[in-house]
Symmetry: C2
Subunit: 418 residues, 2 copies
C-alpha cells in the first residue's frame, strides 16, 4: 500500500470528522464556540509569545511595517477574536433549515434541507485572526476545516489553532474537525488543492497572486474572494458635494481593503466643476493620482495613467482618474477593467441609476453610496468569511448560509417509477 502524505492524512481525517460533525446539535456547537472564546482569553500569554516570535522573524526578514501591523497580536486583538467567536455562537444555525418542499402527485414528500458543505479548506496570508474567524464560522455551519495560513504567521496560527482545537474537542466537537497544516512549504498549498476526494471547497483569502494560483490549479471547487478593482462614476447630474464625500470615503477611509475604490470615473460635463476641488482634497490627504490626459490638464500634480493603472488594485493611497464621455463609456470601462466586486454611480438621474444597476455586472452595485459598505457585517449578516467575486454558489459577502449545501429528503410509502 502506498504511503499517504501528511496532508492527505489530514484531509482524510477532516472528511471523516465532517460526517459526524454534520449531525452535531446547534446546542453543542454553540457551547463549543463559547468554550473556544474562553480558551483564547485564558491562553493569551502563550499566543502572544508565539506571535512575538513570528514578529521577530518578520523583522529579521525585512517585512514591511504594514505587514508587521497585520501580523501583530495584542491582548485587545485576541479579545476581539474571542468576541467574534461568541457572536457567531449567537447567530442562527443554517444547518437543518427546511428550504422548501412539496408533496408530489404520487404522494412522495420531497423536502429540501440545508446541510453543511463537508470540508472547507481556507488558504490565507498574514493575518492570524483569520484562523479564529474561519474556525468559528466553519464549526457553527457544521463543516470540518483545513487551515493553511501564511508562513510569516505560522507560530501564531498554530498556537491559535491548537488552543481552539483542544477547547472544541473538550466541548464535544468530533476529533479531527479542525486540521492545521503545520508547514511553511509552498508545495503544501499545491498538494492541498488537489485533494478533491476529501475537500468540498477551497476558499483562498489573500492577494491576487495566491487567488489566481488556486483558481488555475485546484481540482477542488474554489470560491474566489476579495480582489476589488472598484469604481465610482460621478454622473453629469450628480450632486457635487455628495459625490465628493462618497468618492473621498471610498478611497481614503481604509485604502487597504478590497471594497475601497481604485478608479474614479467622471462625466466630462461635470469634470471642470467637480474635479479641481476633489483632486485637491485627495492630494492634501496624501493620495497619489494617476489620470487620463484630460484629468492631468486640470491639475499638474496628476501623473499619467498607463493601461496597467486601470487594472491595478492599489490597496493604498493611490487612485486612477478618468474623464468619460457618458454613462455608456463608464459602464464599458467597468466591464473591461473591473473585477465584479463593488461599483458605484453618483447621480440624480432615475434612468441612469436604473441602467447602471442593471448593466453593471458586479457582486454589489451602488447608487449614491460608498463602495466601502460591501461587508457581511454592514449588510447585517452578522459574520463574513470572505467576499465572493465569482458567480457560482455565492456572490458578495459570504456568511453562514454560504457555507452550506442542501440535500433532498424523499419520503414515500412504496412508490416506484412507471
Amino acid at each position: 500500500m502506498e504511503a499517504i502524505s501528511q496532508i492527505e492524512e489530514q484531509a482524510l481525517a477532516a472528511s471523516k470528522a465532517a460526517r459526524e460533525l454534520a449531525t452535531v446539535t446547534t446546542q453543542v456547537k454553540n457551547e463549543a464556540l463559547k468554550a473556544m472564546a474562553e480558551a483564547l482569553c485564558l491562553c493569551k500569554n502563550y499566543i502572544l509569545a508565539e506571535n512575538k516570535a513570528d514578529m521577530e522573524s518578520g523583522r529579521q526578514n525585512g517585512m514591511r511595517e504594514s505587514m508587521l501591523d497585520r501580523l501583530m497580536l495584542t491582548e485587545g486583538r485576541i479579545e476581539a477574536m474571542a468576541e467574534g467567536l461568541r457572536q457567531v455562537g449567537e447567530l442562527s444555525d443554517p444547518v437543518g433549515e427546511i428550504v422548501s418542499g412539496r408533496k408530489l402527485a404520487n404522494g412522495l414528500v420531497v423536502t429540501k434541507v440545508r446541510v453543511p458543505l463537508g470540508v472547507v479548506a481556507i488558504i490565507y496570508e498574514a493575518r492570524p485572526n483569520v484562523t479564529a474567524d474561519a474556525v468559528g464560522l466553519c464549526i457553527k455551519s457544521g463543516n470540518a476545516v483545513v487551515l493553511k495560513g501564511g508562513s510569516e504567521a505560522i507560530r501564531s496560527n498554530k498556537a491559535i489553532a491548537s488552543v481552539l482545537t483542544d477547547a472544541a474537542e473538550a466541548a464535544g466537537i468530533p476529533k479531527g474537525s479542525i486540521q492545521f497544516i503545520d508547514s511553511t512549504d509552498r508545495a503544501a498549498v499545491q498538494q492541498l488543492i488537489r485533494m478533491d476526494s476529501y475537500l468540498d471547497v477551497v476558499i483562498p483569502r489573500g492577494g491576487a497572486g495566491l487567488i489566481k494560483m488556486v483558481v488555475q490549479n485546484s481540482s477542488v471547487p474554489v470560491i474566489e474572494t476579495g480582489i476589488g478593482v472598484c469604481h465610482t462614476f460621478v454622473d453629469e447630474s450628480a450632486d457635487p458635494a455628495m459625490a465628493e464625500e462618497i468618492a473621498f470615503n471610498a478611497k481614503v477611509s481604509r485604502p487597504a481593503v478590497c471594497n475601497a475604490m481604485e478608479t474614479l470615473l467622471v462625466h466630462e460635463k461635470i469634470s471642470a466643476q467637480f474635479l479641481p476641488a476633489m483632486l485637491n482634497r485627495y492630494c492634501e490627504a496624501g493620495v497619489e493620482i494617476f489620470g487620463c490626459r484630460a484629468t492631468r490638464a486640470l491639475d499638474a500634480r496628476v501623473q499619467a495613467a498607463t493601461e496597467e493603472d486601470w487594472r491595478t488594485e492599489y490597496g493604498d493611497l493611490r487612485l486612477s482618474v478618468k474623464i468619460v464621455r457618458n454613462l455608456d463609456e463608464a459602464i464599458a470601462h467597468i466591464a473591461e477593467y473591473g473585477t465584479k466586486h463593488s461599483e458605484a454611480i453618483v447621480t440624480k438621474c432615475y434612468d441612469n441609476a436604473r441602467l447602471f444597476q442593471e448593466r453593471v455586472d458586479a457582486a454589489a452595485v451602488y447608487v449614491n453610496a460608498s463602495t466601502r459598505f460591501t461587508d457581511g457585517f454592514e449588510f447585517g449578516f452578522g459574520a463574513e468569511i470572505g467576499i465572493s467575486t465569482q458567480k457560482l454558489h455565492a456572490r458578495g459577502p459570504m456568511a453562514l448560509p454560504e457555507l452550506t449545501s442542501v440535500k433532498y429528503l424523499i419520503n414515500g410509502t412504496g412508490q416506484i417509477r412507471g
Copy 2:
C-alpha cells in the same frame, strides 16, 4: 498582438453577448423559445439528413447499437425537442426575482436579485437532444451558451445549433449568445475549460471519464453531474413485498440512467426471507448478479463480487448485492462506495429511517421509494439541465434557478462609511 484561437474568439463573443442577454426581457426570451421550437419542426428534413450522415459514420466506425440508438433522431424525437423548448418557454423566468432585501439602520436599501450566471459551457457526449435542451434552458435563464458536443454527433448537433441560432437571433436574442464549437478535436475541450476569463461555469454531461477529466483540468468553475453508484438498503423491518418492488424498479426500469440502483444492500436478519425470491426475479429479468459470499450461498447463479464491483456504475442489467450486519454497516458502505447521488432505505422503523436520512450524505435520500425519482421533472421543477453530485452551488436535479447567480443592489442618499 497575439492571434487568438477560434475557441477563444467564440468564448469572448459569448461573454460579450451575455452582457446584453442579461437585460433581455422575459417576453423576448419566451418568443424566441417559441420561434426556436417552430424552426426545429420546419427544418426537420435538414436535421434528419445530417443525423443520417452521423449514423452512417457511426456504423462504419463500429458504434454499439445502444450508442446508435442514443444518436438517432426521428421526426418524433425532433418534435419532442421542440415541445421541450415550448415547455421551457412556459416556466417562470428566474432572472429578476427579488430574493431578499432590507433597509439598513443607516437608510441604505439592500436588495438581492437573481441574475444570469453569464456564460455557461456544456460539454456533452452522444445525444443530440442535449443541444436543444441546453440552448433552451440557458436562453431562458439569460445565459449565453457554449456547446461542445461529442464528435459522433457533430453534424446533427451543428444542424440543430444553427437552426436554433438563426431563429433566436431573428427573435431578438443578441448575436453571439449561442456558440457551437465546430470541432471534433479532443484538444478543443482542454482549451475550452481553461477560458476562465470568459466562461462562468462549465457543466460536463457524460461518462465518468469525461467528468473526471474536466474536474481535474478546468480553471472554470465546474458543476459535476450525473455519476450515480446508487444503493437501496433493505432494512430488517422492511415490508418484503414493498422492498422487492422498489429494488426491482430501481434496477430494471431504466438501467442506463444515473438514478438507477447499482448495489442492493440487505440486512442479514431479513436476507434468507427476502433474497431468494428477489434474486430469482432479477435473474428472470436478465439481470447479472455479483454478490458477497453470503449472497452467493443463497443462489448459485450469483457470481463473486470484487472490490471493483462495489465502485462500478454498471449502467446496464448488472447488479451487485451485499448482505450487511446492520444499519451502520449499510451507511458505512454507502459512504465508502457511493457517489452522493441517490440512496434509499426500505424500512418500517422510524429511528432507522431518520438516521439513514440524517447520516447518508447524498443529493437525494429516500425512505420507502425507488431512487429512480431523482429527476427535475419528477420533482416538479419542469426542466433539468443535469443532476449535480457536488455540494457547491447546486445539488441534485438542476433546473432554471440553478442556472442563475445573484447580485446586491444598494440604493442610498449619500451614505459614507464611518
